[in-house]
Amino acid sequence: MESRYNLLTNKVVLITGCNRGIGKAILKKFAENGAIIYASARQSGILDVIAEELSNKYTTKIIPVYFDVRDSNAIKEVALKINKEFKRLDCIVNNAGVMEDALIGMATERNMQDTFAVNVFAVINIIQYAAKIMKKQQSGSIINISSIVGVNGNAGQIVYSASKGAVISLTKSAAKELAPYNIRVNAISPGMIDTDMFRSIGETRVNERIQKIGMKRMGSPEEIADAALFLASDLSKYISGQLIGVDGVTII
């Protein structure tokens, strides 16, 4: 459903992981609301079509940027590019993430390293570079996508839940450190959202998990994008260091 409130007109935004699921929904929602968006993905060329479509449809500018969020030099290059082209950065959405389930005893070193490299270390790196630009303009909104399992934990997700728990604590620390510069930092913890990533656990487990949702349905990526839109916009200008659960009352 479209929701054109023009809440982000002329705001410059960087969104990571835009090629599918929640990232793609946030990209569309922010474009609808007039944002100028640097849309990132790892696979070169994958956002070219949607970027052109959204740019034309909403008369804004969607600029695809292709890099691996684990590459700190690439993050610096993107920050320099944004600074050069617009001299400002109003919002970042740290959405790119990986999920690999593993029972205790089966969590490999590689799984731990990869998960934390993408879900945690990259987020810290991006915040570090984004904050340089935001400090100069004395404003900004940083939105980190965590997960309900980062709050409550979940069997079979010791590594993933730890990484998403880290996202919550780094959000709170960054909010404290950046508040004097009027930079807000918040996190969203999605519950069970109808994405490829979530469905990768298999239909039986998906159905089991839906029974744990108070509203008895999965959330949609658009419902996460709505929360992100609120946090990116000036409607939330006095809100920082918060975790917003978007989970339809899920019990884990």
């Binding site: 700190s72 610096k76 920050a79 320099l80 570090q128 340089k132 400090k135 100069k136």
Partner: protein, 78 residues
């Protein structure tokens, strides 16, 4: 203003230092150059020299002299 004068001026203004002392300054040698002062220095240098330091450079930047070396590494003629 040439780059070395600009560099020195940033140190003087950030740390409220005297001009004849500034070349000897090292990280935490003065109460003003603490971690918060350090980040203020980095922000001022990035703004004035139109660059972005890498995290390792920010950590290694522990003296007035070292800062010159790091600026040169980042393509600033100083």
């Amino acid at each position: 203003m040439n780059n070395i004068k600009k560099y020195k001026k940033i140190f003087i203004e950030t740390f409220n230092a005297k001009e004849n002392e500034v070349c000897q300054l090292t990280y935490q040698s003065t109460p003003e150059w603490d971690s918060v002062g350090h980040m203020n220095l980095i922000t001022a240098l990035e703004e004035n020299f139109d660059l972005m330091f890498e995290t390792d450079d920010i950590v290694d930047f522990n003296s007035y002299e070292k800062g010159i070396e790091i600026l040169r590494k980042n393509g600033i003629e100083i």
